[in-house]
Symmetry: C2
Subunit: 259 residues, 2 copies
């Protein structure tokens, strides 16, 4: 396929290269900042522009990979709509409904790769789940075929499912990382390094590859071990927010167990 | 060394076998339940008993590896104290001060392996952090030498540090597992499987092996992306506890960033 990218951020950076690697031609990269467009275009050996007037009309698919706010704005752009001329336009956002693209084209879809990307870090796209959606079965199959070439883990999801998936990912990744960060602070305040926890963290994630997380829950809250719960609250006495967090999560663990 | 185990639970099960493997002789296993003592004694080729009157006086070290509540109780046992006869007595608990053992002997210590154990699952002890404490420098070195033989990751920690380590582990492992469990529920309620999150979870933990967790925090709360935060709260409208949790953790992430 001939593909144009609108956007040159972390997702565009990796997704465009993976698509190129698997037989697609990247026609052009658009970014508001010409320097950013140029950088990615150089890697892809494609054209670049920072002006919608110069947008190539040669592409079969336009992939818009920009921030949610910018996506909402760009969908109102008449010039972009004219250039796309009802060809397939796709976004890569977790939490934005496919329907927003209706303002730009009659043929719309989503390719949402569920991973955190950073330009510096190479990534094996074959293991990354890609969530596919389109407004017709034909376009859905078309996008699925493209996605299947770059990933072994392609799922057809509705916008509603994708939004819930993003929410679940916030709990499973952003919030857990924040708890690693809290653990790090507790250790540093007591002259210990975070790395002492790594084997236990690894074992925790090894377990959930084999068993569902609800079935392997452990810890003082799960055991309703009031002596330890009280001791932990006491250890956190200088940190009222963490005390509140500890109590709240512990109570939630106990409630979930009761269900 | 000649070692007796008081207790035959998960920690005793793995620690005793690792100690035996590395040149120690396990003299005897005590458990309140003779069947449990027998099972572990069979694996270790040692004696067993469920009666303090029959406790062997031959051991150099007595390792008490039982629940916190049972440990607090057992330390009051006069018969056990007489049998130990001021030889080295050690506990394996994360949240109990070393001083509790003063009731049993003049020579006391702690060997706290930081891992979750289950009897069914074999474990490579060499990677497990073992936290060592003793009431004299000589005994501390003595226990450290024993621990160094079974683990590459031995740390000398005070009781206060060990208690904070346990608290940090609750955040980094028990609480994170609960969040995996919440993510699982959100996915199941929307007809998706938990395994779609595994690559992202793996990448999250890969990152914290190289960078400190505070420096790699991402997500809508960290970006203060109010549109997504509102959308997520809306998606959780049927689950007031999760809404509260989502808000509370998100606010805490933003506050931590501001610091």
């Amino acid at each position: 396929m001939k593909i144009s990218f609108i956007g040159s951020g972390n997702v565009a950076w990796h997704l465009s290269q993976a698509l190129k690697l698997h037989g697609n031609r990247i026609v052009q990269v658009y970014s508001r900042k010409p320097g950013n467009a140029l950088k990615l275009a150089n890697v892809l050996n494609s054209e670049y522009t920072s002006d919608f007037n110069s947008l190539s009309t040669e592409a079969d698919i336009y992939i818009i990979s920009i921030s949610d706010d910018a996506l909402i704005e760009i969908c109102k752009n008449k010039l972009l709509k004219a250039k796309i001329n009802n060809k397939l336009v796709v976004h890569t956002a977790g939490s934005i409904n496919i329907d927003i693209l209706k303002k730009l084209s009659l043929n719309i879809g989503v390719l949402y790769p569920l991973q955190t990307f950073s330009k510096k870090k190479e990534i094996d796209f074959s293991k990354i789940p890609i969530c596919v959606e389109a407004n017709t079965k034909i376009k859905e199959n078309y996008l699925k075929n493209i996605a299947d070439k770059i990933s072994d883990n392609v799922r057809i999801l509705t916008s509603n499912q994708r939004q819930h998936l993003h929410l679940a990912a916030v709990f499973a990744c952003n919030f857990t990382n924040h708890f690693y960060s809290i653990a790090e602070n507790i250790l540093q305040n007591n002259k210990m390094d975070f790395d002492i926890l790594l084997p236990l963290i690894k074992e925790t994630t090894n377990k959930i590859e084999k068993f569902n997380p609800t079935s392997v829950q452990t810890g003082p809250a799960y055991r309703d071990d009031q002596k330890i719960l009280k001791k932990h609250i006491e250890l956190l006495k200088k940190y009222p927010d963490l005390q509140k967090m500890y109590n709240f999560v512990s109570e939630n663990i106990l409630k979930s167990k009761a269900k």
